[in-house]
């Protein structure tokens, strides 16, 4: 048992390491100047895909968003129940510039 334990145990001391050799290997890596950050890609929005989309589908792909009317009414009700919000136009009508 003792023998097996001895075989597994490995101890290193400072004098075991060739620091000079390590320095030669790692110093250039550590001192390597930072690479200049690559410039951001010039991102562009390709509108041709949408043009092709509408040319192919015309107005038949998306349905009318009639739910907007319901949403607007729901929000209006919520606003009406909340004195802090409703009616903003009455609280500060000067903000409603035509």
């Amino acid at each position: 048992m003792e023998k097996a334990a001895d075989e597994k145990t490995v101890e290193y001391y400072s004098s075991d390491i060739d620091w000079e050799e390590l320095r030669k290997v790692y110093e250039p890596i550590i001192n390597k100047p930072e690479e200049p950050k690559t410039e951001k890609k010039d991102v562009k929005f390709d509108s041709s895909a949408w043009e092709e989309f509408y040319r192919n589908n015309q107005d038949g792909f998306f349905k009318n968003r009639n739910y907007l009317q319901v949403v607007l009414e729901e929000v209006a009700k919520t606003c009406a129940n909340n004195r802090n919000i409703y009616p903003l136009s009455q609280i500060s009508p000067k903000n409603l510039r035509g």
Binding site: K40, K41, V43, K44, F45, D46, S47, A49, W50, E51, F53, Y54, R55, Q58, D59, F62, K63, N64, R65, N66, Y67, L68, Q69, V71, L72, E73, V75, A76, C79, I85, P87, L88, S89, Q90, P93, N95, L96, R97, G98
Partner: protein, 151 residues
């Protein structure tokens, strides 16, 4: 889906409040008018509705729609990621802005400049109606931004 609704005074029920004033709403990425026309039917006549889209065909569809009212509506072909919105409407002339399936069609890098572009035509100090929907999926893979059918 994320929905942000800040304020909505542009209902027919609020017509009295809005009486005798002209208000302007711009629909960003109006497409064939699938939001513009329901909005037109839900709002009083003194709310003018504008829209823009990158697709020329889509804009033509808006203008050819049987409910198109040239006194109250207009639409332009415009890429908001490249072109200044002030070329189509006056600075700080818009009261409300809707963005429905708009931001999620724009690459993330261009979202802020685009929003800034839209902001430049919004009235300062006026009420803003903002409505946006974005799919988280769209943020994961930038390749989807070039594919309308993925949205």
């Amino acid at each position: 889906m994320q929905i942000i609704v800040i304020y909505t005074p542009c209902l027919k029920s609020h017509q009295k409040i809005l009486e005798d004033k002209v208000f302007r709403l711009i629909e960003c990425g109006c497409g064939a008018g699938n939001s513009l026309y329901p909005l037109k039917n839900a709002t009083p006549s003194n709310l003018h509705l504008y829209g823009f889209d990158v697709s020329k065909t889509a804009v033509e569809l808006v203008k050819k729609h049987e409910e198109f009212d040239s006194n109250r509506m207009n639409a332009w072909e415009l890429d908001a990621t490249k072109t200044d919105l002030k070329t189509i409407v006056e600075t700080e002339s818009i009261n409300f802005c809707t963005m429905i399936f708009f931001l999620n069609a724009i690459p993330p890098e261009l979202m802020l400049p685009t929003l800034e572009n839209v902001r430049s035509v919004m009235q300062k100090g006026s009420f803003k109606f903002s409505f946006s929907e974005t799919y988280r999926l769209s943020f994961r893979r930038s390749s989807l931004f070039q594919r309308p059918w993925a949205i």
